[in-house]
Amino acid sequence: MDHAFLGRALILLSIVFAASGAVVGYAGGRRRTEAAHQWTKRLAYSFGGALILANVVMIKALLAHDFAVSYVAQVGSRSTPTHITIVSLWSSLEGSILFWGAVLGIFTVAFVWKEADKHRDMAPYSIATILTIGTFFGFLIAGPANPFLDTPLPIPQDGPGPNPLLQNHILMIVHPPFLYAGYVGMTIPFAMGVAALLRGRLGAGWMRPIRTWMLLPWGFLTAGIVLGGWWAYEVLGWGGYWAWDPVENASFLPWLTASAFLHAAMLQERRGILKGWTLILLLATFCLTILGTFMTRSGVFNSVHSFTQSPIGPTFLVFLAIVMVACTILVAARMHLLTPEGEVRSPVSREAMFVMNNMLFVFFTFLVLVGTVFPLLAEAVRDVKISVGEPYFNRLGVPIAIAIVFLMGIGPALPWGKATDKEALKVLTVPMSVGFSTAILGAIFGVTQPLPALTLFVSGFAGFVALRDMAAPVLVRHNRGGVAWGTAISEAFWRGRRRYGGQIVHLGVAIMAVGIALSSSYQKVAEGVLDAGQTMMVGDYTLRFDGTRQETHPHRRSTIATMTVQKGGKTVGILEPRMNHYRMQMNPIGTPAVRSSFTEDLYLSVMTIDPNGSYVGMRAFVNPAIYWIWIASGIMLLGCIIAAAPSLLFARAPLPAGAAGARA
């Protein structure tokens, strides 16, 4: 089977379907005929199907080691394990764009299936917008980033295999799909926003489905970012999880604006204000995903993720420029429909806190963007390479993040509308005390540096507000209404699940803030060269080097150091950090060994190792509260699922029987 030809044909088909679907959609949206609606749907399904099939063909080619396909010749190898071969689909630029196409195809199919018939007035426009973007990516795959080219003769018998870092850890398999789902998924709410602008239907109520379709990629993106940090932590050996690398920042920027959007949309729904702002956030989020893709693939930025400069860079930049200009014109054309219907009555109100929260999110976005692109500007102006690194982002970003967490507490605590100082005091006193207590508790345990202590305060404060908000409706039902606990909980939960979802996410954020603060500020490091049998100390742990052993796989040879870990005189475990020599790579790459517990991680990284086992150079870290970060992200995802899933899975929520009489 000629995989290359089949792949090229499918990509070409996808472009045809996308382009014609876009035309039919936009034209049909204007004329609003049933035929146009149906054809838009059909073409969208076909587009999605073609791209998904193309990916299946590529996976098949990879598994069959068909080196006649250019991409397989680039990243395939007979010595890589099967699951890695599948993963190598997204290990290199061309394949990753093809994978982008698959994810877009899946989202397109899902969106058309769920929403097209529910919103017939909007559907043709939103689908057409998705397909326009799909046409662009189709052209990319068919043109500058074509993985289905024919390998020039002679066809090699074997290939170099994917990057060895992909083969080190399972997280690397999971991180890209989630991140892609987050990135690509932003296309859907963007298209819905564009449809609303084109339709001119910007009144109350159009936000709801957009919010739901934004929650989905937001959740994926959150997971993708956290998985990326977790992978960096477990694999790279420097003991950290975030380095403000340009590509890390690229993933973070749309997350910030998407979070701002979710809040601004709530504000718009309740108060009818900030309509234009909410819309701009929505459009900006998609633009930032394109910017992020540009940053990763253009080769313009100095980053470990980046590729060499290729024609794909300018293509993305031009596309980004066109999208941004088009959005500007669209918004400008509908400005008259974006007049506010309400106002913010007082600075002491939930609305004001929402406004402030949005400003901080957007400022954070701006800050990260400035720091990331400034070296480009400086180099162009001064012809000197400079770096803007971690200290810059931490110095400016950490206070902003703490302020956002603080607002996370004040916002839900204050009522809508206008609150008197007395009322504000009443709702804020207890949470503030909880915050203070948390900080004092931390100080007792040794957290005395100002920023971590402040983080404990705001997280305790905000976390308590979230818990109180979740408990209040349940308590009210049980205490005043005499409802049994179980029914009270399920009723309150089901009726207010979007708010519950949000509060759970807030809880997760509060915990994550504490985890980040503690792990950054209280890390312990120790370095040493040990002969066999020698020990070194780090924190409360004693590490003894007990020799090495070798492990040989087809694609790599590892020298593994056996380290016995003792705490308080007792042996608590054995850790095995490694130094890997990959067949196709010149430099060896180490894999750290991590022993995680709830309170702290013991992290060992090999600096130098004698294959005969006579000595090892080790760097050891004790990282407190790291696991809280991963757990917190799980909590955030749970909240997201609770908020989004029912709307996505069910067309309409059934009323719980007991609440029927309570409806006003």
């Binding site: 239907r201 980046s306 420029a321 014109i329 400008a332």
Partner: protein
Amino acid sequence: MSGFDDFPDAAGGGISAKAVLVGLAVVSPLILILALGFGRDPNVMDKPLNGKQAPDFELPRLVDGKLTGLDDLKGKPLVVNFWATWCRPCAQEHPNLVQAARQWGEDVQFVGIVYQDKNEAVNAWLDRNGGKAYPTLIDINAKAAIAYGVYGVPETYFIGADGVIRDKHVGPIPWPVLAEQVRKLRGGAS
């Protein structure tokens, strides 16, 4: 479910010029700055020492451990090559350097400085890859390399007789480039 005709399209209101201007004011600088990045390789480092005095090192020689510095090599233009045995491109370029040393060693002094490597491996490697045509020095803890701004191997520095660094080549040096650089060092004579 919303039907087709429930919501007619909004009445046209014209395009707000102010909004367009604000939008373009935000969009244009960003696109411009990003476009500036093309044509520059972010992984190529600056060469700040070009035109400055070469740092004076004192390193032991491989053959006898005698400390050698710039003073011992002064008077002639200098080609300093940083390399290591674990570096595959270094093996590719070494024959070029050996050839150049044999050809122009009278006028130009060649020196190799071993970077992050072990002595035993060095001797064997030299024998395998073209021989010892010029002195090799051992740089412990990369002190000299740091002073020269070396960030990987191989890197080759071309230093005039006056001790000023004329140029630096990063990566394995092809013969034409090497020949041209040496020609410039010798004052243009071929």
